[in-house]
């Protein structure tokens, strides 16, 4: 579509669009520049994260102090509680992790790291963001319609989700579903752009194995997303028809099959966890090599591992359904595949540790986040192995053990790795440096309370605390004094963690305008984005770069400097 304008742009180099003046609206809301679009995704994701965090605060307060009015919200009704947990989960996965990790970093980094002046379809890219923004607005609107927002959990299992007589939110559930589908379409458009751009627009000399890991991970994640979301798009249309037109796909009272939805949902849902995990792994690879001043250990193996993880992730989905009445023989198969997939995941962690070995490590803020990612994610991965074993999962399923498991994976991905990336690329995005001291305060103030929230949840879950319950006082065996104490400890930790986000926000905004200015390459890194101005102009480079080597040539023996940029001739 935009192919021709793109080719014209290539000839004109960096000068395109730079001359004619853009007003504020064109520059910040209607831009086709990949960096601006990436930033829009990132800021929208951050705003949604604040909303999701507020929801978590409200329902954790309710769990710790049931029946007391929550400051800033008031008394929580059971329906509101369901609405809050449902939308917290949906927001954090679809409107925070996805836009920030894939679309935000993907848009900002891919053209800069492969030496292109923009995405191949800039207008499609803009459309993708606009659809995404619309989806976020529809979701927010769904919270305020008559009867309130959807409360049937982020997994939206029927029959609860399919019939308004059960879920009691006729408007909320349909708007929620429409928002999710819009979001999927936005990411399909964005993903196709990423894939085609990185296949066709690499700088001269850049072979497939000269591409930085983070680009590989985002592109493979886009392919995974594209190949797994289809059945759920179909499923969402079917569910919407069940809700609105009275079809009978999932509603058993009309001959439908509710477990079919679970298959469609998890066929997407499991690859989706790798869709967000892979970019996080990629960010960590970039940060670790720069701050360990070492070549990435086993670059090619990492790429094969990423691909293997992607392929395997299509064959594990039913580990979410061990107790849903699936055939026990099938449960065996899915146990085996689930244990298999832990191997590449563990391997990636080992590769990073091997990269650190013998390096000259610099504990900057991005590096601290990257190290914390490995440490915390490991706990999530290891507990996943427990859950993947169907015998154990029959006991753990739908307890807080599962909740703690996936927060030990998602939080490192969506917050820790993102913080690592944001603090690492901030100088490139805004041309200024973040404050290191406040960065470290934010780091410790986030990591310590994070463990304070979720370690108690592992213990509570193992003791049988069921998830999705509004008030445990009604269940004697789930409201022993020590359990109540742990619940309070988790909630207090959450409040502390949220409070420590304030220094981050202040540091972020202040440094954006007032931080010390930096040159092109403040970290002495190799990859191409560091050869552009900070921030790069529209078109990225005046003279497009050429590539002469791989991205991780740090501390090469016999060279004067301990880094060797990809575009340097000798």
């Amino acid at each position: 579509m935009a192919q021709h304008s793109h080719e014209a742009a290539h000839v004109a180099g960096a000068s395109h669009d730079a001359h004619h003046h853009q007003n504020w609206f064109q520059k910040y809301c209607w831009s086709t520049d990949h960096k601006m679009i990436g930033m829009q995704y990132m800021f929208t994701g951050m705003a949604m994260a604040l909303l999701g965090a507020f929801m978590a605060y409200v329902f954790r307060m309710q769990l710790a102090f049931p029946g007391h009015a929550v400051p800033g919200f008031g008394l929580v009704s059971p329906g509101q509680y369901n609405m809050l947990i449902t939308n917290h989960g949906s927001i954090m996965i679809f409107w925070v992790a996805m836009p920030v990790l894939i679309a935000g970093f993907g848009n900002f980094l891919i053209p800069l790291m492969i030496g292109a002046d923009d995405m191949v379809f800039p207008r499609l890219n803009r459309l993708s963001y606009q659809l995404f923004l619309l989806s976020a607005l529809v979701l927010i609107a769904s919270l305020f319609v008559q009867n309130g927002g959807f409360g049937g959990a982020w997994t939206a299992y029927p029959p609860l989700s399919a019939d308004k007589h059960y879920n009691l939110t006729p408007w909320g559930s349909s708007l929620w579903l429409i928002a999710v589908v819009l979001e999927f379409v936005a990411f399909l458009l964005g993903g196709i752009n990423f894939i085609v751009t990185s296949m066709n627009s690499r700088a001269p000399g850049m072979k497939a194995f000269d591409v930085p890991i983070v680009v590989w991970t985002i592109v493979i994640a886009s392919i995974l997303f594209l190949a797994s979301v289809g059945p759920l798009v179909a499923g969402a249309i079917m569910l919407l028809f069940d809700q609105l037109l009275g079809t009978s796909f999932f509603n058993p009272t009309r001959g439908g099959d509710p477990v079919l939805w679970q298959h469609l949902f998890w066929f997407f849902g499991h690859p989706e966890v790798y869709v967000v995990m892979l970019p996080a792994m990629g960010i960590v690879a970039e940060v670790m090599t720069v701050f360990a001043r070492k070549k990435l250990f086993a670059y090619k193996t990492v790429i094969y591992t990423i691909i293997a993880t992607g392929v395997l992730s299509f064959f594990v989905w039913a580990h979410h359904q061990f107790v849903a009445g699936i055939d026990p023989r099938m449960a065996n198969v899915f146990t085996v595949t689930t244990l298999l997939i832990s191997i590449p995941v563990a391997e990636m962690c080992f590769v990073y540790i091997a990269t650190l070995y013998g390096g000259s490590i610099r504990l900057t803020t991005p590096m601290l986040w990257a190290l914390a990612f490995i440490a915390e994610f490991l706990i999530g991965g290891v507990t996943g192995i427990y859950l993947g074993s169907s015998g154990l999962d029959v006991f753990f399923h739908d307890t807080y053990f599962v909740v703690a498991h996936f927060h030990y994976t998602f939080f490192p991905i969506a917050i820790i790795a993102v913080m690592s990336g944001v603090t690492f690329w901030f100088p490139k995005m805004f041309g200024r440096q973040l404050n290191e001291f406040w960065g470290k305060v934010h780091f410790w103030g986030t990591i310590i309370p994070f463990n304070g929230i979720f370690i108690p949840l592992f213990i509570l879950g193992a003791a049988g605390e069921h998830r999705r319950i509004f008030d445990y006082s009604n269940f004697e065996h789930m409201s022993k004094p020590w359990m109540i104490d742990m619940r309070i400890a988790a909630t207090v930790s959450l409040v502390v963690m949220l409070a420590f986000q304030i220094p981050f926000l202040i540091n972020f905004v202040w440094s954006m305008f007032k931080g010390p200015k930096v040159g092109k390459n403040p970290w002495n890194a190799n990859t191409l984005e560091w050869t552009a101005d900070s921030p790069p102009p529209h078109g990225n480079w005046a003279v497009m770069p050429e590539v002469h080597r791989g991205p991780y040539e740090y501390s090469v023996p016999g060279r004067e400097r301990d880094f060797w940029p990809q575009d340097e001739k000798v």
């Binding site: 793109h6 196709i192 289809g230 059945p231 798009v233 009275g246 079809t247 796909f249």
Partner: protein, 179 residues
Amino acid sequence: MNIPTGRLAVWWVLVSEIVIFGGLLVSYVMHRLGQPEWAEQAAHTHLWFGATNTFVLLTSSLSAVLAHRAAEEGNGPKAAKLLHLTCLGALTFLIIKSVEWTDEIRSGFTLQDGGFWSYYYTAAGLHAFHVIVGAVIMLWVAASARKNQDLHRVENIGIYWHFVDIVWIFLFPLLYIAK
């Protein structure tokens, strides 16, 4: 790798479309295998309407192929004419479809009438939606092809049109013939 950018994007669009229809059709087949009574409902579909439409759609792909050839020869106006012919096929398809559906709904077979009809209308409806979108894009491509602009798009829309065809080739036996 030297696939032109536009065509490469179309291929990736098709991958995502294949999994969307794939999910729907696999659900249908699995569901149907467990519900022998659906065969009775399927017996009420109009085989001849379906067969005619299969013929119409396949023919419309022929003119799309010819349009591609014309575009390769640099003959934009001819390509545009052939694309319009394809659109005419799409229109015929949609008209036949609406006559057929009107008749079925009149006979009392609606979306709410159980599992088979839910799938029947949803799958064929999703396909018809693709026919409409394809035809609209084709008109737009034809408009620029007539001025000899962006001729590479003629091939891209053609690829998409073949895909719409192939989906129907799966839908026809699954919805009309399997009894």
